[in-house]
């Protein structure tokens, strides 16, 4: 996990708190990342992203003007390759769930240590998603909510968790590491990772379908 690709990974930091922004940028630079842009608000981030082409964006969810969720959605829409890691000072709440549905590949609370943060970015770079136990709890709840109030999507399918995925998510929510989960369920580390990522991908896909349906309806209504 510690080996970085030969070319330094390009990172953008979006945080309205100057102290945090600088501390994050410094930590990342020291760890060998190339911090190509820092932004204090969403509009700035959206302006800087196309020019500086970051591979990873670390986005604080509470931003002035544009919200972190909106920034995440627009960054992901503009460049699907860009991987967004959401960061928030207050605990897991609705905006975390919204950010993940909008395309963030992971979420970290700001109380995480420097090592935890760097490990998280390492995983994001490696194409994995970053789950906190809190996020797993929120996602379990979201699937349950969708099962109770099925929203009619275009293809008529409400996303559901497989039994295995539920099992894995519950263990993540109980604080087990992927390695521990793999051990307990007798799976490979990779398989556990795939299960977790699938739970996220299904929600994101569902969210996109919903948004498209909504946009279509709005347009039909406008005609």
């Amino acid at each position: 996990m510690t080996d970085l690709p030969s070319e330094p990974v390009r990172v953008m930091v979006v945080d309205d708190h100057p102290m945090w922004r600088e501390a994050l940028a410094r930590d990342l630079t020291e760890a060998g990342y190339d911090v190509v842009a820092t932004a204090g608000d969403g509009e700035q981030a959206l302006r800087l992203a196309p020019a500086t082409r970051p591979q990873v964006a670390i986005v604080d969810l509470r931003l002035p003007t544009l919200s972190g969720v909106q920034v995440t959605a627009r960054l992901s829409a503009a460049n699907p390759e860009l991987r967004v890691l959401a960061l928030s000072a207050s605990s897991e709440h609705d905006d975390v769930l919204q950010a993940v549905k909008a395309g963030a590949v992971g979420y970290l609370v700001k109380s995480a240590s420097r090592e935890e943060l760097l490990a998280a970015i390492c995983r994001v770079v490696a194409g994995e998603s970053v789950f906190t136990p809190g996020l797993a709890g929120l996602i379990l709840g979201e699937y349950r909510r969708l099962a109770v109030v099925p929203s009619p999507t275009a293809d008529g399918v409400t996303p559901r968790l497989t039994q295995r995925e539920t099992e894995v998510l519950r263990l993540v929510a109980k604080g087990l590491s992927y390695r521990q989960i793999a051990e307990r369920l007798v799976l490979s580390h990779r398989t556990v990772q795939n299960h977790v990522q699938n739970t996220l991908r299904k929600l994101q896909l569902h969210n996109r379908v919903e948004l498209t349906r909504y946009a279509l309806e709005q347009r039909l209504d406008a005609d």
Binding site: A89, S91, P133, G137, K174
Partner: protein, 374 residues
């Protein structure tokens, strides 16, 4: 004031209808008046005044005392002038005045504007004019005075009542808006405080030594503040009235740097007695983690709401119960704890199971059948 605006509009309608009534009566009686020509002039003047007041009372600026006084003067004047225009015989016989019920309009205007006291004064003035026109107090004009006073008092009273309740409503709305704004500001401030505390904790731990202690303290305060923010404000207000409480709020109060809580985004509502019992069972479980897995053990709480039950899991990352090497003391302690928690859950119709996975700590799962919504 919305209600008062409606009353002014109603007064306008009344005045027009009353003018129509007065005109019909005058058309019938003009022939027997002493000076029918002047009578027509007076009636025309009443029409002009009707239009003038309709315009004046349409806006709040026109509902002032000079206009109201003029209104009263016109009302009194039209009543009194009848004595000069009509024949003494008809007046003796108790014929109605030229403006008839049109002269009640100023009474209503005064009542709407100044409440029941003004209404009463206005009723006395118009009533007095009626008596003066007749020259004496008769059963007929006494009845008129009573009717006018009744109208003035009741309309005035209703107006005051409406004004007070509208003011109270406006005050309540303003207070709510202020509270919401304060809450919004507080959230912003709390968020900044959380950021700074998190930063201090991070840097402190990195610097080590005395700074690490500061960092640790900041971290504890950060967790405490976060738990406080997680309790929704309306929860406290609705507590006594609504017997159902959000289990998440109760459990979030237990969060600290070594206890992580995961829960759905939506409230997990339970009867407050049941929720307290579950929270007490969780506290017991956490105490047990501290006692047996060590001070530095981490614990995770997971709250789940299934279609038919609520599941709360408590897991720690302690050594668990070493396979085959159960010392008597550990077994005693753990089993004692488990029995106490199991007892609580059984009383609530649920269950508690303890599982240990080597190297992955111990786990207690509390399952509680969900109550039907009342």
């Amino acid at each position: 004031m919305a209600f008062q605006t409606q009353l002014w509009r109603a007064l306008g309608v009344y005045r027009v209808l009353a003018l129509g009534y007065a005109s019909v009566l005058y058309v019938r009686d003009a022939g027997v008046y002493a000076y029918p020509g002047v009578g027509w002039l007076v009636l025309t003047g009443m029409g002009i005044w009707t239009v003038a007041t309709l315009l004046a009372y349409r806006v709040p600026a026109g509902r002032r005392w000079p206009v109201l006084a003029a209104d009263m003067a016109v009302g009194v004047g039209t009543v009194l002038i009848t004595r000069l225009l009509d024949t003494p015989v008809r007046i003796e016989a108790g014929a109605s005045t030229l403006p008839t019920i049109w002269s009640a309009a100023p009474v209503l205007a005064w009542a709407i504007s100044g409440g029941w006291r003004s209404g009463t004064v206005a009723a006395v003035l118009i009533g007095g004019a009626n008596v003066a026109e007749r020259g004496t107090l008769t059963p007929g004009n006494t009845r008129n005075i009573v009717m006018l006073t009744l109208a003035g008092v009741s309309v005035g009273y209703v107006t005051e009542l409406a004004r007070h309740s509208e003011l109270a409503l406006a005050r309540a709305l303003r207070a709510r808006a202020t509270a919401q704004e304060r809450e919004r500001l507080a959230r912003g401030i709390h968020d900044s405080v959380l950021q700074v505390l998190a930063l201090v904790r991070r840097r402190g731990v990195e610097l080590g030594g005395a700074a690490a202690e500061l960092g640790r303290l900041a971290g504890e305060q950060e967790a405490a503040l976060r738990a406080l923010l997680a309790i929704s404000p309306d929860q406290d207000l609705d507590g006594p009235r609504d017997a159902r409480v959000d289990l998440r709020s109760l459990l979030r109060a237990l969060a600290n740097p070594r206890v992580t809580i995961s829960a759905p985004d939506a409230p997990v509502l339970l009867d407050h007695v049941v929720a307290q019992e579950v929270a007490a069972a969780v506290v017991t479980a956490l105490d047990n983690v501290r006692r047996h897995a060590g001070k530095h053990a981490h614990a995770w709480l997971l709250v789940e709401e299934e279609s038919d039950e609520v599941v709360v899991s408590v897991r720690d990352d302690g050594p668990g119960i070493p396979d085959g090497r159960l010392t008597a003391a550990v077994a005693q302690g753990r089993l004692g704890m488990a029995q106490s928690i199991q007892g609580r859950l059984r009383d609530l119709g649920g269950s508690a199971t303890v599982t240990c996975t080597p190297g992955q700590g111990a786990e207690i799962e509390l399952r509680l059948p969900r109550q039907e919504c009342p």
